[in-house]
Amino acid sequence: MPRVELLLAAESHAVDQQTNALSIFNIIEGTYTGIIPKVVFITVWKREPGDEDRDFQSLLRVTSGARQVGEFPLNFRMTAPRHRSFHVLMGLPAGRAGETIRFEVLLNGQSVGRCEIEVSEAPA
């Protein structure tokens, strides 16, 4: 099964059309209450022996405090030694101050990683 090399939430990203270089902008470590207009959740997968050209089912599960925001599937094939998945979430509700937004990544039903961002009261 592919191994997770990197996973994080950011405001935006870009893949250079000519070199395939990935750039990530404004990693999100904390946020304010309200709606986050756009979050891109990036997972970089590293191929393991036996993964070549196999299909994998990845799922991003997002919870805010005790509430489930949603589950976002993104299936992929390991056609290259590394694969990057980009879940772009538009209009993510941040929940209440003091809560945590959790992003959990599952692969073929198994949890393989997660990251959390804290929600603070929006400044007046």
Binding site: V15, L74, A80, R82, F86
Partner: protein
Amino acid sequence: MILDRIKTSDFIATVGYELPPEVMRLALRRMREYTLFQKEYRQGDITSDVLRECVQDLLGDFRRGEKFTFDASLAFLCVALESIFTPFATEFLEDLSKVHLVEMPLSPGVAKVCLEERNKLPSNLQQDFKIADLLFSIGEPFIRNEPSPPSEAKIKIAA
């Protein structure tokens, strides 16, 4: 311009003897001309149209039964275009890698090695999810998720 330089007998002599494709690829990457090519490309002096014209010009010299004069020049272009993901560069490498001609013992092998290196780069898959239609019930938000069709690209190809 570097594309003029790679047609000269001086350049071809500098490339030297034919080496195995993997070794030739490394040797060509270390040449000064490789750096100059990348610089001219990034400055916009070398476009896909210019490259297409250059390749056609080189291939115009091909004669059946004679060693192709610009085999090393084409090998150089393979290496120079390896990390450039335009439709022309991809088409050039793929087409050249399929050539099996006695007259061109070098460049098809180098094209194949360059393609193998390109295929080692990460693949990308993006899907957008619109978390829309927030409906509030007893103060709690209810959210429905509307995925848009995924966009998949090995590389997002420049127009």
